[in-house]
Symmetry: C2
Subunit: 316 residues, 2 copies
């Protein structure tokens, strides 16, 4: 047998992002330019510094340059007081020129992340982490959903990987990946298992997965022996070793056994950025339609559909 035929197919996040940009986001931008004078604006807030955040911001900025969106990064000092931080966010909540607010996590220890997240105006919460948005995704209602989680689903849909009835195992139980991933894949009628740092016999669970989604934050943690042959593996890990970005999955070890595998970098990252952009456009459009409940529902469904079944509509 030809060795190359045995290889896993790559879940290419860059290819996905290119298509998503051309077929989904840019046409929407064209509509915006026609209808609105002011275009969407994202505020990214970074407190202190952190290599994963810097890498994500770079990726994001490069992508957003190709779009009809304005993007500004606000850098706050590591030692900022929580109260000052809250005032800063409150100003941006009130600033009508800003449509989306993204606070880069993690925050320094002296700041309560929950308090910060809850302080963001829900209609500007492009990360889908504020109470009303969590309620929506937990209930499977369309709305702003955490970008990384929806990015994984959209990437799999792009590669036409069947999800209904599959056993999806997610390793990690965070609010930005594990939990929203579980809810999104439940909505797609997958059977979902959530594993985490306290799971016993992790290997038993991971090797039962038809689709394995990994967000544990441990470099090359998932090895070949931990997966079933033919599994689909999505690596959401972002780890830095010697300044090099590496994932949670040992790609070289697995690449002959998985049917599909996402690389790091170039897999889940670009898909995340696409959904972040989509969330920003949705937040912008919802604001424009703020007194029109019917249009708001149409918009939520439109954005959900193109992210989950690849279909687009109009709602203009």
């Amino acid at each position: 047998m030809n060795q190359s035929e045995e290889k896993s197919k790559i879940l290419d996040g860059r290819l996905f992002a290119q298509e998503y940009l051309e077929k989904i986001l840019k046409p929407r931008c064209d509509i915006f330019r026609e209808h609105y004078k002011k275009l969407p604006k994202l505020s990214t807030i970074l407190v202190g510094s952190n290599p994963a955040s810097e890498s994500y911001i770079k990726l994001k900025e490069r992508f957003f340059e190709k779009l009809c969106v304005e993007s500004e990064v606000f850098r706050l000092p590591e030692n900022i007081k929580e109260k000052e931080f809250l005032n800063f966010i409150e100003k941006q909540n009130k600033d009508d020129s800003i449509d989306g607010i993204l606070v880069q996590m993690p925050l320094p220890d002296h700041i309560d992340e929950d308090i910060i997240i809850e302080s963001i105006n829900p209609s500007k919460d492009v990360e889908g982490l504020s109470p009303g948005n969590v309620y929506a995704w937990a209930k499977a209602l369309p709305n702003l959903v955490p970008a990384t989680a929806l990015g994984v689903l959209a990437l799999l849909k792009f590669y036409k990987i069947p999800i209904e009835g599959k056993h999806v195992v997610v390793v990690g139980r965070s609010m930005i990946v594990g939990k929203p991933v579980a809810h999104l894949f439940l909505k797609e009628n997958a059977t979902v298992t959530i594993c985490h740092s306290r799971t016993k016999s992790l290997e038993k669970h991971t090797s039962d997965a038809d689709i394995l989604i990994v967000a544990v934050g441990k470099p090359h943690f998932i090895k070949k022996r931990m997966i079933k042959e033919g599994a689909v593996v999505v690596d959401v890990g972002i780890n830095f070793e010697d300044g090099k970005l590496i994932g949670d999955v040992d790609y070289d070890d697995l690449k002959l056994d998985a049917s599909y595998i996402s690389p790091v970098p170039g897999g889940s990252g670009p898909a995340t950025v696409c959904i972040l952009a989509s969330n920003l456009l949705l937040a912008f459009e919802l604001k424009k339609a703020k007194d029109d409940e019917e249009k708001r529902n149409c918009l939520k469904t439109y954005y959900e559909n193109y992210n989950t079944i690849g279909e687009t509509g109009f709602c203009v």
Copy 2:
């Protein structure tokens, strides 16, 4: 071997309720009587009629009579308009004499359940289904949690069944059982699998469970061949056949194979009622402490602790 030694132990919800009443709820009532003139009041709203709802209301009313709470059942006509229903709830939201509002589901088809749930004042939402409360349980923050889900956990804790590291499989993905069960058991460091009507090879998943929690609404659906020997089985099913209440689990078929099993009636039902009472007391106390964030946090932790680790504190 003696046949009786082989039998499953029963997760006796009535015994649990008796102890919970004497050790947890009544002492709290004593404190209330000492401190407050007015005692907690629950409003139960039933639209039309339905045997499961009637049975639950009867159980609940009988239990609440033993407590320091007032409980009133409001029966609305089957054909009530959504708008009238919303007005009715709005009145109860504003009525300071009412501390908790429970709307019996299911509602008639012409009424949107989500709109009704979202209309309930979150601080009176003793079912833990409004946006802020869903956010809390999805994030593992203490607050008002769906009574059936927390009842299952409390019942297992009462029988000192280890949960950390166990594989918990829940069959059902509703907002009142499947989803909150998943989050509550994740918080307890279990590995959690969520199955549902579209799960393929359900038997494979259920028979992998250390703890199986069933809420599918199909009489005697779970058979012996679907569980692992020694599994703990909790039946949350409420089905009526010929006027008789029966669960989702075929109790007689399983009773020699499970290590613990909850009967229907007399298992999960009484535990649900206990947590509903606990939620009402918590809602009442949170209202009394409405401007004291520190006390509110203390109270949430107090109620969570006695429901999840059996410990009580004071926060008076």
